[in-house]
Structures are given as C-alpha cells and as structure tokens.
Amino acid sequence: MRFTVIAFLLLSLSGLKNEAFSQYSAGKYRNMLDDGNIKPEFWQAKDNKNEIQVAFSGLFLFYKNFMSSQDLTVCTFTPSCSEYGILAIKHHGLIKGGLMTFDRLTRCNGLSPQKYEIDTKLRLLKDDPRNTFQVPIVSSLK
C-alpha cells in the first residue's frame, strides 16, 4: 500500500515536472554548442565492388585510423592523397589508379598552386580523380 502511494506520488511529481517545463522546449537547443566530435567519417572506403577494392579500402582505413589520425592536415590537396588513391583505384582500376596516385604524390608539393582550382572553405587545392572537367554549355541562370 505504502509503495503504491509513493509510486503514485512520484509519478504525479514527474508529470508535474514535465508540465512545468514544457514552456522552455529545451530539446530544441541541444545542438547550440559544438559537440567536439573531430572523428571524420571515411565514406571513400564504403561501397566496395570487388576484392581489390576491399583490400585497398582496408589499407586506406588502416592508414587513416592509425597514421593519418596522428597528424594534422599536411596534404595540399582536397581530396587528400590517400583519399585520391582510393577514389582513383575505385574509378579507374588498379593499374591506372595506382599510377595516378604515384603521380599525385609527386605533385603534392604546393609549388604550383596556380594550376588548380582552390576550395575556399578548406583552403586547399582541388584535385579530384573523378572530375571529368566538362564545361557547362547552357547557363544555369536563365
């Protein structure tokens, strides 16, 4: 009996509490502060089509998690050299993609920024292996 009464009182108290604070709708402001999560998500390693891609995605994830994570941004490009490597292998195959990656490593010297477009937000040079450089024909404004 006593337990029931206490439980009832507690329940009504909690109900009262919710009622009293409903005007604040505090849940809306949960993300007002930065949550401090600096762990990036590696989408490049997802959606592997064959064993080669799985193997290289594994290498890529190992490098990203255990080596690159111990370093600040040192690559002059976006996507970075390791991301370029995995994307190149996925889009151009092992041989061409591999050669492209070796070439990219030598180009990653920051000596000729005039050759590339700049990502103004990241302040890095753009060089994406998937880019086909098609000039849009018809204006997107009229």
Partner: protein, 274 residues
Amino acid sequence: MKPAIFLTLIISLAFTKANAQNLEQTFDFANSLFENKKYESAVEAYRRILFFDQENLYSPLIYKNIAESLYETGKPEEAAYYYELAYFSTENDTIKTELTLKRISCFLILKQPQYAQVELFNLPETLDSETRNLVTFYEALVYFAQGEYAQSETAFKSIATDTLVIESLFNKNAKIDRLNPKTAKVLSIIMPGLGQFYAGDVKNGINSLVLSGGLFFLGIRSAINNSLLDATISVLPWFQRYYTGGFKKAEVIAEAKIKERRYKVYNELLDQFE
C-alpha cells in the same frame, strides 16, 4: 428564353465563385492550413498572398503565421526574418514581446547567441512571471554559450526546481577548465602520447606513442646497423612528421575534449528543464 439565360448566368456566376479563390479566400485557406498544422502547404499559400497583395492589406496579418510555419518546418533563419516583419507591423506590446521571444529562439537554434543577446535587450522591463522565467532560461543559455558561467548559473538556479543539481553540474563544468590544451601540447613534446593521455584520449595516446616510438626505434636501429645517412634519409622524415604531428594533434584533441565535455554538461543542464 429570358429566364433561361438568367438562370445560366446565375449558375455560371455561382460556379466561378465556388471555384475562385481571391485574396481573402486564399488568406482563410492558408490560415486553416496553418491551424491544422499543415505548415509546408501554409507557407506556399502565404507566399502566394504576399506576392499578389499589392496594396499590403493582408501581408501584415500574415507575417506572424508564415514565420511560425517556417519555424515549425525547420527554417529558423527565414522565420527570424518574418518575425521581425511581424514585430514592426504590430502595435500590441504583448505580441511584440512574444515575437521577440520567438526570434531569440530562432537565433539560439541557429547557434547565434550573440544575436539572441541583442534581442534580449529588446524586451520590456515588466513581464508576467511565466514569460520572465522563459526569458531567464534564454539568458542562461546565452550566457552559457558565451562562456559566462557564473551568470548562467545564477539564471539557471532562479528557474530550476532543484538548485543542488544545477550547482553540482556547474561544479562539473568548472572542472573542465582545468584541462589546458597548451599543457597537453607540452606534455606530448616531452613524450609522444602523454598529452593525449592527459586529455583523456587513451586510444590516440597509445597510437601516438607506438607510432612515434616505433619510428624512433627504427631510426636508432638503422643508424647502428647501417649508417647515420640511412637513418636520416629513410626514417627521420617520418619520425619528424609524426612527432610534430603528434604534439600539435594533442592540442587539437584537448580542445575537442573540452568541447565534448562542455556539450555533455550543457545537455545535462537541459535535461533539468524537460
């Protein structure tokens, strides 16, 4: 003949009237959508009225509802704009206060506490107790976001049911400041990984220690077995990269940890008001 024509005309007139939607009817339609919480559709209808209302008859009546609909559909930025228009198209002080409070809410959702603070100054001195509590809640959030924790604590305490919990949470918050990113950096310069351990990130601490330590060991081994030149060419650049990277990263990790803990305390504070 005559009555027939008359009849057709009447019917056609009635028909057009039934189908047509002039400004007033669209206004009523939009309002009914709004009342039934069909906010997306209400916004579209309100936009149409704003476009066709050349003489500005309905627009002042719409601003509040369109702002409300935008707020409910997750567009606080545009909502804040219409709340302001609504603010300047009313003379009623109670409504003005209500609109200002909504605008503050928009800015807090948009992570712009400084704008919210400007709006807080815009409120009248005398308020009823419920509104006063809401204002105090907003003040507490603004102060917390701007790092003025003492004022935030006072504000939170004045509206909380359990001030002891608030106090303990703010004590917890004060402890966060003991973590210093610069100290983390210095510790990691002394020994790779130490700063990360200090910040409470064991995984990255071990990672940094193993990586830099391993490269250091490899370099020494190469210098003894082969030559100093070999060690300089093949291992030193890598060691330098992960050693400097490690202590710079320690600082970044410590900063992120502070944010993470602050976020947690902040959410525990919010739990008290839900």
